[in-house]
């Protein structure tokens, strides 16, 4: 174990930066593209204590722009962990009972190997020389980390959005190492609409003159404008029409009303600008390209002749799938498809559909019924496995 290296300065010297696991040439990471990473890193953060039988480990997988700081202060932004509402002592994922691990995905920009990292071969940031990665590669990297931590079986793998897809991939790739999986607000494949929104975001980045063919690191700039627009477009897909209307309506930013100019007149515009500007302070544009591409490529059934059920045939993993009614990025019907496939494969699966008007982002918010489902499911799995 060692300290991770971030591309941005941390807020204060004593900030909790988590850990990093370095893998040398003796343990290369095989990638779906056929390429290999021979010296690579996974940055991660843990909470709670691993019990003696190593049976209480829960892996949290983060979403597209998330990171390992799931339940503690972000060392660059200083903001609370992105799922502190879910994880901590006495919370639905109780760190008094469980050992919680969250790692930055491969391709990310919070210490795990990614395009912003220095390529050991050249001494310069990888940029576009970093190989294209897939969700399965992300999960393969995590499996190396879990192995190094001395954990044979994970009590549960869970996450929302891209995190949910990683949970599905874990269950498909390593069924004997996953006691339970909880994919939340996700799908077994990226839809045409999902890919379309990703492409808009990527084109915004590529169109920024400061992107410089992905070599912006060498010029001391970043394609902030493009990355910010990418975030704004994506952020709309995380909300719902009714949530936007409820939060902002047509309310004006200034008491003077309309400006008859192109500055933000409406509160909803200012909100999106804010989302874009805080995002570029913590995220790398090339990482956005790589991770969003990985999500485009995700189609779990495609690895099994188009039959999703085959991905889980014979699996003893217990599943609980959670969907939100107003999520139009990964609508309930896509989540339910997974449940039906699991049923067809005779797996033990529960499917919970939560009524909410908060859209896709509901999984990050205060949704008591989600907390009840997570607490109940983990509790029953832990009891079954004899975890105190």
């Amino acid at each position: 174990m060692a300290l991770p290296v971030f591309p941005r300065p941390i807020i204060q010297n004593d900030a909790d930066v988590g850990d990093a696991m370095y893998f040398g040439a003796e343990q290369p990471l095989d990638l779906d593209s056929g390429q290999q990473l021979t010296r690579w890193t996974v940055a991660y953060k843990t909470y709670g204590t691993l019990n003696e039988t190593r049976s209480n480990a829960i892996l949290i997988c983060h979403a597209l722009t998330g990171d390992q700081f799931v339940a503690s202060r972000h060392p660059i932004t200083g903001k609370p962990g992105w799922w502190e509402i879910m994880i901590g002592p006495g919370k639905p994922i109780d760190t008094d009972r469980f050992f919680v691990i969250c790692s930055n995905v491969i391709g990310g920009c919070m210490g795990s190997s990614g395009p912003a990292e220095i390529d050991p071969a050249t001494g310069q940031p990888y940029g576009l020389k970093f190989p294209l990665i897939t969700v399965r590669d992300m999960v393969r990297a995590q499996s190396h980390l879990i192995g190094r931590l001395g954990i044979d079986r994970l009590l549960c793998v869970l996450g929302g959005s891209l995190g949910g897809m990683q949970a599905l991939q874990w269950a498909a790739s390593y069924p004997e190492r996953v006691v339970a999986a909880m994919p939340i607000a996700c799908a077994a494949r990226y839809s045409a609409q999902n890919i379309a929104f990703n492409e808009v975001a990527r084109q915004a980045i590529l169109a920024d003159p400061d992107w410089k063919d992905g070599k912006y690191y060498l010029y001391g700039v970043q394609p902030g404008k493009g990355l910010s627009v990418a975030r704004m477009a994506a952020h709309i897909t995380y909300l719902s029409e009714s949530a936007l209307q409820r939060k902002f309506g047509r309310r004006f930013q200034s008491p003077d009303g309309l400006s008859f100019a192109f500055q933000p007149d409406f509160q909803v515009e200012s909100y999106l600008h804010h989302q874009g500007s805080v995002f570029i302070d913590r995220f790398d544009a090339n990482s956005y390209l790589y991770i969003s591409r990985a999500t485009d490529y995700f189609d779990l059934a495609a690895d099994y002749d188009g039959k999703l059920a085959e991905a889980f045939r014979g699996s003893r993993t217990r599943f609980c799938i959670i969907a939100f009614s107003s999520d139009w990025l990964f609508p309930p019907v896509e989540n339910k498809r997974i449940a039906h496939a699991l049923n067809a494969a005779a797996c033990r699966v529960s499917y919970v559909e939560i009524e909410s008007d908060k859209g896709h982002d509901a999984f990050l918010l205060d949704e008591p019924e989600m907390f009840d489902a997570v607490r109940g499911f983990l509790g029953s799995v832990a009891t079954q496995e004899g975890v105190a």
């Binding site: 049923n343 529960s350 489902a373 029953s380």
Partner: protein, 213 residues
């Protein structure tokens, strides 16, 4: 649904207890409209059954998840078509068929998905119901059917004779038929007899699809 039967000593509703008695050890069971999972849990504990549930209410689904029972949130009318054929030994539909939009289609799916189907229902042919309609000229409201006509979830009520006719139309063979009286006692009946259709509070059927062989 809204119908309430007498409880047995083990706390199970009479029709559920009658159904539980029909289920052999270590079978695969799908309970449609499984509520808070009482029957599934009972079957798992006493008969080592591998059970699954389908349930509409969010609260009930979370109750099942907390009990460690696999349950799909959804409704019988929309979801049963997604289930593969002949994957369960038994499919249970307790006090639910009268609340489905398309009972014939639902029953067809039951017989397709499971090798056998156990169905319980309230009997709209009970003499109190008949007498209420005859004497008052109003839609009957009884202890078991407590809703007014305009707010009842029971949109497709039927008599025991009606259900037997539907089962026949769906190509089902009645393997067992039980009449349940007001005290919650289950007694074997002849499915086509007129007596139970007049006197029974509810009924439980064990059906076998002829296509299942």
């Amino acid at each position: 649904m809204s119908a309430v039967d007498g409880l047995r000593a083990d706390g199970l509703r009479a029709d559920l207890a009658a159904i539980a008695d029909m289920i052999p050890l270590r079978t695969r069971v799908l309970d449609i409209g499984c509520g808070d999972g009482t029957l599934l849990e009972y079957l798992a504990e006493t008969k080592n059954v591998d059970g699954r549930g389908l349930e509409l209410s969010q609260q009930n689904v979370n109750a099942c998840v907390g009990r460690g029972l696999p349950v799909i949130q959804g409704d019988a009318d929309a979801d049963l078509a997604e289930y593969p054929s002949q994957v369960f030994d038994f499919v249970i539909l307790s006090q639910t068929i009268q609340a489905t939009r398309n009972p014939k289609e639902v029953l067809g799916h039951l017989l397709r998905i499971g090798r056998k189907a156990a169905v319980s229902l309230p009997n709209f042919g009970h003499w109190r119901v008949r007498l209420g309609l005859l004497t008052q000229g109003r839609m009957p409201v009884t202890r078991r059917l407590e809703h007014q006509w305009y707010d009842t979830p029971n949109i497709h009520l039927c008599t025991i004779a009606d259900f037997v006719a539907l089962a026949k139309e769906c190509g089902a063979e009645v393997e067992k038929a039980l009449a349940i009286d007001e005290a919650g006692t289950a007694r074997p009946m002849r499915a086509d007899a007129w007596g139970p259709n007049l006197l029974a509070d509810g009924a439980v059927f064990l059906l076998k699809g002829t296509a299942a062989g």
